[in-house]
């Protein structure tokens, strides 16, 4: 436990926490909470759970902040419309919340007024635009119609002389009739949205029983509708009708279809005059609109300078009031009571902060900080830095550690990249991965301040994990002696050479050892030889089992540290010890045999030994004997393993039952006393704790499941580590295929084009399949080995995270 100011970098156990109560005088409450938010080391408990949000003390302030946030969102929309982005550096002066509220209100109403004005102008402008279109289009229609009419008129005259009777169309008939007898046709002209135009025509026809003539003409470019302000494709129409009833019907239908009507005259001279008039008005309006627009954008520009500052300020204020709402309110004492969790190491810092708040707000009374005792499980808080946090996240994704239990995160920092690298062993690929991640790390500052895409974000937050993974895979790549599947004689020449000129590369027969053993990693001579795969498989399989045994043993040992830390002797004696014995007497023995076989070069068959150790333990080992007394050692180990199972299964439930009964008796006979100091205030608190029922059958079943899981698990988990071998085999074979069948093949053609294509295919296959897909799959398998095979030996993972009130952690939840 540390008494210093800063928390100790202790990753193995989570920070010791305490439940604290802070009593803050009303006048300094706001400031104190705000300072605590800056500090970010206190997790407030909601003491007003029963109250609904608007019944709480500071509901009005929160509403005010919500209103201000709404205004700020409005500004954001305006800024978006103006194409202005908020400047990162805000150089506004410090203002209080009240001033800000007034300012925001003023700016909002100014902007709204400006928008309304410009909207009105735009409305008029668009209307005139439409009018001009109608005039133009209809002018054309009328002109052509008139020309036709005169032409037809002449023709008709001509025909009349000949005496032929035509049956002209309605309009033409009207046009051709003598002007003295002409019934005056009314007409309505305007614009109708194109998608509604057919329905419009149909309804017009139905409503007037066909007694209208409708002429439509489409406008090529979409028009801005002055009612909705959106771009709509429209048709110009003109409807000729006769009589007042028809007119009223046509007008109603026009209204119903949102067709804008415009007056129109058939006199060509007047038309020209109107067109000129409209054009004049248009240019006038245009200048007005432009001036308004300029003014508007300057206002928005001014807002954008301080947008970020205001947004953050309001967000902070809102979170402060939310926090204040969680405190219980004491009317008589004029103070607020806060309860919550904080790290023990932060006590001094918090007290200092509270003192600062008191002096800054000129309060007569200081805030009181006192520590409560509670049986409630404290939150888990690890002090991570930017390097360890990603590894801790890997563990947290499985489950947040129970308060102060052994944290697998410490070991994950090394074991995770290492297991990854066992599956991804190729120093060429490792270097590629390393360089890619190095970019992320070198440009850390720029990336962390900007928003990245989903996948980029993930890669960036895991950058230190990935760089560790790449470093380790360079290391294992040297051991496997693979550089994009090509071996190099980096550590001196191969130990083997041909005995004579007749032996070929493709075989190991005929090779003799001419030098000392290759000093580091795999001898390059194995590469491409006929016995390469049997040799590599045997080596990698055995290595996988050794690594797995090491990690599983570490897991079980960690369960010992847990038992010791929580003073749980039962777990140590009846769980840790038999588990150790069981696992090591079977698979620990196998590991021993592997090591012995490697050292002695014996030809013994390890499968045979392991299988017959169970099937017929009394038989002689014959050829498979590796050392003296092996048979008796095996008998002993088998016996120990058999003993370990009931040892794990039976004593623990009975001991727990006994322990429980003893505790209850103690309570019955010793009503009051100094049995447990911590018990007293906790009972006075009343809200926490309580006795859980002890159900013997449940405990037995639980223990049974646990035992079966461990016994079966020790087999299946060991087998599960063979994935290390399988994935590393798959990786090296894949990269070999890409190298041999793409790059080397392309080289063989001696053509530049094929070589370039081959190189491109090789690069893409390497990056896409090996560097991305294989990294992902190896990552997932390493993850599984940690979560399942390693952590199930000791990790409970049922804690909850320390979630302090901190301004730094208030994300943009709304964006």
């Amino acid at each position: 436990m540390a008494d210093g100011d800063g928390p100790v970098m202790d990753l193995f156990r989570s920070q010791p926490m305490q439940l604290a109560r802070i009593i803050i005088p009303m006048e300094s409450a706001h400031r104190a909470i705000s300072y605590l938010g800056e500090l970010g080391l206190f997790q407030f408990k909601d003491l007003n759970k029963a109250k609904s949000p608007f019944q709480r003390t500071y509901a009005t302030q929160i509403k005010r902040c919500g209103e201000m946030q709404r205004k700020i969102r409005f500004f954001r929309d305006q800024m978006y419309k103006a194409g202005v982005s908020a400047s990162k550096i805000s150089y506004g002066s410090v203002i209080t919340l009240d001033e800000l509220e007034i300012k925001l209100g003023e700016l909002e109403s100014e902007l709204i007024e400006m928008n309304a004005n410009s909207e009105k102008l735009e409305h008029a402008y668009n209307e005139l635009l439409e009018y001009r279109l109608v005039l133009k289009k209809m002018g054309e229609v009328f002109n052509s119609a008139q020309k036709n009419a005169t032409a037809q008129h002449k023709e008709q005259e001509h025909r009349r002389v000949e005496g032929s009777i035509d049956s002209p169309l309605l309009l033409e008939q009207e046009m051709t009739t003598d002007s003295s007898k002409q019934v005056k046709l009314g007409y309505v002209s305007g614009l109708v949205p194109r998608d509604k135009s057919t329905a419009f025509e149909r309804i017009l026809f139905r409503a007037t029983r066909g007694n209208v003539f409708l002429k439509q003409d489409s406008i090529e470019e979409p028009v801005i509708d002055h009612v909705s302000g959106q771009k709509v494709e429209k048709n110009v129409f003109i409807v000729f009708h006769s009589g007042e009833r028809a007119k009223s019907k046509v007008l109603k239908i026009c209204d119903a279809f949102g067709a804008n009507r415009y007056p129109f005259t058939d006199d060509i001279g007047k038309q020209h005059q109107m067109i000129i008039e409209v054009a004049g008005k248009l240019s006038e309006l245009k200048t007005t609109i432009d001036v308004g627009q300029h003014h508007w954008s300057s206002v928005v520009q001014a807002i954008s300078d301080q947008y970020e500052q205001w947004k953050n300020m309001v967000k902070k204020e809102k979170s402060i009031y939310h926090t204040l709402n969680m405190l219980s309110y004491d009317v008589t004492k004029k103070c607020l009571v806060a309860e919550g969790w904080c790290p023990v190491s932060a006590t001094n810092q918090i007290q200092k902060t509270l003192l600062q708040a008191t002096t800054d707000s000129n309060s007569q009374i200081g805030a009181i900080f006192e520590i409560l005792h509670s049986k409630e499980a404290p939150p888990t808080y690890f002090c991570t830095n930017k390097f360890t946090s990603a590894f801790q996240e890997i563990v947290n994704a499985y489950g947040v550690a129970k308060y102060q239990e052994a944290n697998p995160g410490v070991y994950t920092v090394v074991t995770f990249p290492f297991l990854f690298a066992v599956m991804f062993g190729d120093w060429g690929h490792g270097i590629c991965l390393f360089l890619a991640t190095l970019i992320l790390i070198l440009r850390e500052k720029t990336y962390s301040s900007q928003k990245l895409g989903d996948i980029m974000e993930m890669a960036f937050s895991g950058r230190y994990v990935i760089i560790m993974m790449s470093i380790f895979s360079i290391y294992t790549g040297f051991i496997y002696n693979e550089f994009f599947s090509v071996p190099f004689e980096l550590f001196g020449p191969s130990a083997y050479a041909c005995r004579d000129s007749s032996c070929s590369d493709a075989t190991t027969i005929g090779l003799i050892k001419v030098r000392n053993t290759y000093p580091f990693g795999l001898d390059p001579v194995w590469h491409g030889s006929r016995s390469e795969l049997p040799f590599l498989n045997s080596m990698k399989m055995k290595m996988s089992i050794l690594l797995g045994m090491a990690q599983m043993n570490l897991g079980i040992i960690l369960s010992y540290f847990n038992g010791k830390f929580f003073r749980n002797d039962i777990d140590i004696w009846y769980q840790f010890i038999p588990q150790m014995i069981f696992l090591n007497s079977l698979f620990g023995y196998l590991s021993l045999l592997i090591v012995v076989k490697w050292c002695t070069g014996s030809q013994a068959d390890l499968y045979h030994i392991m299988i017959y150790m169970f099937l017929s333990p009394m038989d002689d080992l014959d050829d498979n004997q590796m050392f003296m007394g092996q048979k008796y050692l095996q008998l002993l180990l088998l016996f120990l393993a058999l003993i370990a199972v009931p040892w794990m299964l039976f004593p623990k439930p009975f001991l727990l039952k006994k322990q429980h009964e003893e505790r209850h008796q103690g309570e019955a006979y010793v009503p009051l006393g100094a049995v447990d100091e911590n018990l007293e205030p906790e009972l006075a608190d009343g809200s926490h704790g309580g006795h859980e029922e002890f159900q013997f059958s449940e405990v037995v079943v639980h223990q049974l499941i646990h035992t079966i899981e461990f016994v079966l698990g020790s087999v299946s988990n060991t087998a599960s580590y063979l994935r290390l071998w399988a994935l590393s085999l798959a990786h090296s074979e894949l990269s070999k295929v890409f190298y041999d069948k793409v790059l080397v093949l392309a080289l063989g053609y001696e053509s530049v084009v094929i070589l370039v294509i081959g190189a491109i295919v090789f690069v893409f296959a390497t990056v896409g399949v090996l560097l991305v897909m294989e990294t992902l799959s190896a990552f997932l398998h390493a993850l599984r080995l940690h979560w399942v095979e390693f952590q199930n030996k000791f990790y409970e993972g049922d804690g909850y995270k320390f979630d302090p009130f901190s301004f730094a952690l208030i994300g943009d939840e709304e964006e």
């Binding site: 609904s52 949000p53 608007f54 019944q55 509901a59 929160i62 509403k63 919500g66 209103e67 709404r70 969102r73 409005f74 509604k196 329905a199 149909r202 309804i203 139905r206 409503a207 019907k249 109603k252 239908i253 209204d255 119903a256 279809f257």
Partner: protein, 351 residues
């Protein structure tokens, strides 16, 4: 193919069923209603609603709020959800979803026609229409003078056209025959919807026939009660009852001759499912009947979510959401008018 929906339903309907069930869990619960009922101002209501699914729709509303804004925004959410589902739906589910809106279409037609009869502004009427029941030429309804014109001009293009076959007359429109038209249309609509669901078969038919039968019976009771003391003859009244449902046909015979509310009650108490509804009411009272029916309906709608692989959930969700909006409207009205004592009168809790 009853009983085999599980094999094929999810090919087309799985995604939407998941969506609708997700929406359902967004419905306000009794706890929400309790909180809402304690609100002092409309701003409180807004604040509470922004913490629910309605949040994005309400959060950008400037502060002096009106009941209409709240209702409008909530309805907008329903419409958005409906449109999304309709876009994703394939046959026959899209037809089913469209059927759900026909009721609103009928209501809108009646609203516009009545409005124009009383010389109200068309735009004003259009704003009052339910957005789910809108169709292209709805505003043109104002042109029509009688039923025949109404049909010939506008409604022939709408899905409501077939329902009109029974009520085309050349009489001028007045309040009475508009109301008769509404009920005739509704009857035809319900019968058509019922037929459609029967054609779909399976669990959809089973559940929807139950829900629609309840709807038909409720309408029958309402028609009877509303027509007591009017000049509607018994035969005309009987013509307005839908030809299915629990009351069909004997209950309808008896309802047709009822002269007061107690006689209606006498008829209805013969039907066990409706007994509890009427036993809650004291004699001669009909005010609370609506609420009792609503409560029963909500119960049945909620139950339809218990079964999987059928379209009834879409119908049920739309209805529940409409009920929720009615509740919100009532609560907001009570809060706005300072009538908080009456807030529980008309609120039907859904969960």
């Amino acid at each position: 193919m009853y009983g085999f929906e599980a094999m094929t339903f999810n090919i087309h309907g799985g995604y939407l069923e998941a969506i609708v069930r997700g929406h359902r869990s967004g419905l306000l619960t009794a706890a929400d209603y309790n909180n809402l009922c304690q609100c002092e101002t409309l701003d409180d209501i807004k604040m509470h609603l922004t913490a629910t699914e309605y949040g994005p729709y309400l959060q950008n509303e400037p502060s002096p709020l009106h009941t209409t804004t709240i209702v409008e925004k909530c309805t907008l959410k329903l419409v958005d959800e409906y449109k999304h589902m309709l876009c994703q739906a394939t046959e026959p589910m899209s037809t089913f979803l469209e059927y759900i809106t026909y009721g609103h279409m009928i209501d809108n037609v009646v609203l516009i026609v009545t409005g124009t009869l009383h010389e109200r502004d068309v735009q004003e009427l259009l704003e009052k229409c339910h957005p789910l029941g809108m169709f292209d030429s709805i505003a043109t309804l104002a042109v029509a003078q009688n039923m025949r014109e109404l049909y010939r001009l506008v409604l022939v293009d709408t899905p409501l056209a077939p329902y009109f076959s029974e009520c085309i007359t050349s009489e001028d429109l007045d309040d009475m025959n508009i109301e008769i038209m509404r009920n005739t249309l509704y009857k035809a609509y319900l019968e058509d919807f019922y037929q459609f669901c029967q054609k779909l078969g399976g669990a959809t038919a089973e559940i929807m026939s139950d829900l629609l039968a309840f709807e038909a019976d409720r309408r029958a009771v309402n028609i009877t009660i509303n027509s007591i003391g009017t000049e509607l003859t018994r035969d005309d009244r009987r013509k307005l009852y839908s030809s299915f449902g629990l009351l069909y046909p004997y209950g309808h015979e008896e309802l047709a001759v009822c002269e007061d509310i107690d006689q209606v009650r006498g008829v209805m108490e013969k039907y066990p499912p409706y007994q509890p509804i009427f036993s809650k009411l004291s004699y001669g009272e009909s005010q609370m009947l609506d609420k009792a029916f609503y409560e029963e309906e909500v119960k049945r709608l909620c139950l339809s979510f218990e079964q999987q692989f059928h379209y009834g959930v879409f119908f049920a969700y739309m209805r529940l959401k409409e009920q929720e909006i009615r509740n919100l409207m009532w609560i907001s009205e009570c809060v706005a008018q300072n009538q908080k004592s009456r807030v529980h009168d008309s609120v039907v809790f859904i969960f």
